[in-house]
């Protein structure tokens, strides 16, 4: 099932070049994809992976080079032609209509929903058949708005399969998935290649690349710098190829915890949407300690994060900061009491897309540090932004660039800088490295460990167990709003935490609910 028949590539990219102004996003990139093969396209943020796939799918027009599918050259800039030729793309950000059902979404675009020739029963039967063949459990009649992220991704993949895609392009498919969902996705992909499909898998997570691909293509600064058969390479080699230098993850030394800086005593909060709130949670975040919070997404992490961020108050129970009970509580008060916050969604909550880097850099401190009597001091703000660009290694054209033009990693570095600049006592890091490449991940982790060593209490919320296990001095698991006991570093194996994540081991709730 690996590419034993190189004479007939299903897909061939030849000398693709794409420039955006002065930036060359793709520089003469060529590769073949064979039937039944999984190619992993590996590269840091901004290496040109997504641009390349957008050209392949006809969303961008290449300045030079051709795309061949099954031996025929695709007309440039025509997604319809790519679809008809059998290329299916699953984007990083889903393109589904939440108010429609699964089967309607799958049909949408291929057929008119109001066409008389549309036979829902046949459509649904075919979807059921496909979901069985590829091991993807989805109810065709479910409303997409009610599905979990993992289920939505299955709908996207089904949509491509429904249109008889022979080549699947998956752009960072695991960025939004829990470990369990990732395993399920991989089972589906293995089934797909067994049935003769070919896959291009875009990622920067090395263990996934090693697990699923047969060949790895590494892009750096728009160039194809290396091609390896997966069984002949290693994570270390790929990481080095990707970054262009040896990468070493920051070393996390054991710490000596101090006094509790933030404590919750039997705190209960309201739920958020369909996710539960906190249920009588008691926890101490201690100085000089990273507390890891593991758990499947949607089990109360958002409630805890909002509470610490200053967005909500407990319904009952008590929150103390440095021993002082918290009465009134707003985001500005949280910042004032030394709580630095890295929000889960850096696009929606962490930054304002059309504001400049400078404006985003001072979003939390404009009133206290960059204004006098209501007048902004833009000169000081700009100087501050320039300083942050240097200190936190933010790659950008300058402080006046709109933040939406930055890569996710650089955006996160800005948010990190905004948080650490104020010397916070407590750092809330909610999914701080989701969707980042390895260089940025190591950078963020290193900085968080540094903040801990300076005496901050760090709360790390993550769905990535590896991340939790590597960084945390003490681990809690959250499930349905309840908190497990504290497990010190090294006392738990991933499987044990998995048990707690699945909700086993908790005592029955103390109060009737």
């Amino acid at each position: 099932m690996t590419g034993a028949e190189p004479a007939h590539p299903v897909l061939r990219l030849s000398d693709i070049t794409k420039r955006f102004g002065a930036l060359t996003a793709n520089d003469r990139v060529s590769f073949d994809l064979a039937r039944g093969e999984v190619i992993a396209l590996l590269g840091e943020n901004g290496a040109g992976k997504t641009t390349l796939m957008n050209i392949l799918f006809g969303q961008y027009t290449a300045d030079a080079g051709t795309v061949e599918v099954f031996g025929r050259i695709l007309p440039p800039g025509a997604p319809r032609a790519a679809l008809d030729a059998g290329v299916g793309m699953v984007h990083q950000h889903f393109t589904l209509a939440g108010n429609l059902t699964v089967w309607e979404n799958i049909v949408l675009g291929a057929q008119s929903l109001t066409a008389l020739s549309l036979k829902p029963r046949e459509v649904k039967a075919r979807i059921r058949d496909l979901s069985q063949r590829f091991h993807m459990k989805v109810d065709p009649d479910a409303r997409v708005g009610r599905l979990t992220v993992g289920e939505r991704q299955r709908v996207e993949i089904l949509k491509a399969l429904y249109r008889d895609a022979k080549i699947l392009i998956l752009d960072e498919p695991t960025a939004v998935l829990t470990p369990q969902e990732t395993d399920a996705l991989f089972a589906t992909l293995r089934e797909a290649i067994a049935q003769g499909l070919s896959i291009v898998f875009i990622s920067h997570k090395l263990h996934e690349v090693m697990a699923i691909s047969s060949r790895v293509i590494v892009l750096r600064h728009g160039r194809l710098v290396a091609e390896r058969r997966t069984e002949q390479t290693s994570r270390e080699e790929l990481a080095a190829l990707m970054v262009g230098a040896e990468v070493t993850a920051p070393e996390i030394r054991p710490s000596t915890p101090g006094a509790p800086l933030l404590s919750l005593a039997a705190v209960t909060t309201a739920g958020i949407g369909s996710a539960p709130g906190l249920d009588a949670v008691t926890i101490d975040l201690r100085a000089g300690q990273i507390t890891g919070l593991a758990g499947v997404s949607g089990n109360g992490q958002a409630a805890l994060s909002n509470l610490i961020s200053g967005l909500t108050l407990p319904l009952s129970g008590e929150m103390r900061i440095a021993g002082q009970p918290v009465g009134d509580w707003t985001p500005r008060m949280a910042i004032g009491r030394g709580v630095g916050r890295i929000p889960e969604d850096r696009h929606r909550t962490g930054t304002i897309a059309d504001f400049t880097l400078t404006e985003n850099a001072i979003l939390e401190t404009y009133a206290s540090q960059f204004a006098r009597h209501g007048w902004m001091d833009w000169q000081a703000a700009r100087a501050h932004a320039e300083e942050m660009i240097a200190t936190y290694d933010i790659r950008c054209p300058g402080p006046d660039v709109r933040i939406r033009l930055l890569s996710g990693g650089n955006m996160q570095k800005l948010i990190l800088g905004r948080v650490l600049e104020t010397g916070p006592q407590i750092v809330l890091a909610n999914q701080p490295v989701r969707g980042l490449d390895i260089g940025a991940v190591n950078y963020v982790h290193g900085r968080l460990a540094e903040a801990r060593d300076k005496g901050a209490a760090v709360l790390l919320i993550s769905e990535d167990l590896d991340e939790i296990l590597r960084l945390s001095d003490v681990i809690h698991v959250i499930s349905e709003g309840r908190l497990s006991p504290a497990f010190p570093r090294g006392t738990m194996r991933p499987e044990d935490l998995g048990q707690w994540m699945a909700g086993h081991g908790f005592e029955e709730p103390a109060h009737a609910s």
């Binding site: 985001p331 910042i335 929606r348 007048w375 902004m376």
Partner: protein, 349 residues
Amino acid sequence: MRLEPIANPTLPRRTLPPALALIATFAVAALLVMIAGGNPADVFGLIFKGAFGSKFALLETLNRATPLIFTGLAIAVAFRAKLWNIGAEAQLYAGAVVTVVLGTGALPLPAPILLPLIAVAAMAAGALVLFIPALMKTRFGVDEVVTTLLFNFIFLLFVSYLLEGPLKDPMGMGWPKSARLVPEARLPRIIEGLRLHWGFGLALISAAVIWVIDAKTTLGFEMRAVGQNAEAARFAGIPVTKVILKTAVLSGGLAALAGFSEVAGLKGSLTLDLSPGYGYTGIVVAMLALLHPAGVVVAALFVAAIFVGADSMSRAAGVPSYIADIMLATALLLMVLAILLTKFRVRRD
């Protein structure tokens, strides 16, 4: 067809579509003029002459632009913070009512004290009129588009009641009309002998003040942040509710100045036809101006010129002056499209 966002629009990309929109507006108007039996070149010439052709025409245009600058600014300020104020008409009348209540002899004060006092009181009234829907929006999530729009009708009926009742001019021969302002409450002319009052000067000053607030103050920063991403603003500690309420006060106050300026500068008394929809036309002005205060001045002059010019053209050429409304509507629709085209590229699949 698909829209593809453009990351860094070039200068032609940002300026060409709006320019084409204006040209297309005149093309559509030309077509209609021909259907009405006129000669487009003559008609546009007459409109231009009617708006700028003489000292009188020019001053008339500036006078007509004055209330539009105020309401345009009011809408621009509110829309930038995503507060959808459709009620500038009611806020305008609130300012006018206060002007009449305080300016018809109730306060025996000299003009330099009386005029600022009335202006501030008028602003406060307009602010209050928008503050209530804004409070309902922030407290209970009531849609301000509905409340501010409906409040226009309520307030106009209230003014009608006032003019038939408590504010009715006893010397008015039974017409629904207020008493005339005392001379101390009248806005003086900018240059003696020319029919242009200080309301226009106040409008230009207001535009400059809004520009400064936008660019230089924390309030401007907060209003932009709340407008662009309220969730991120709230997370960052910006007091979103307070900012929305402050925006409402500013916007309502600006719209009320239109009423103050019309009564104290131009009409001298209040009637039910004080505003031929300046509150609504302000929306057009603000949109044409891309919500920028300097743009509001330019757009208000453009709109006023078309109205004033069309009036005089209609008398000379016999083409109905409704052509002005059509030109405005076309300009607005095409401009909205043009703005889209400055940010997106249309691609055919």
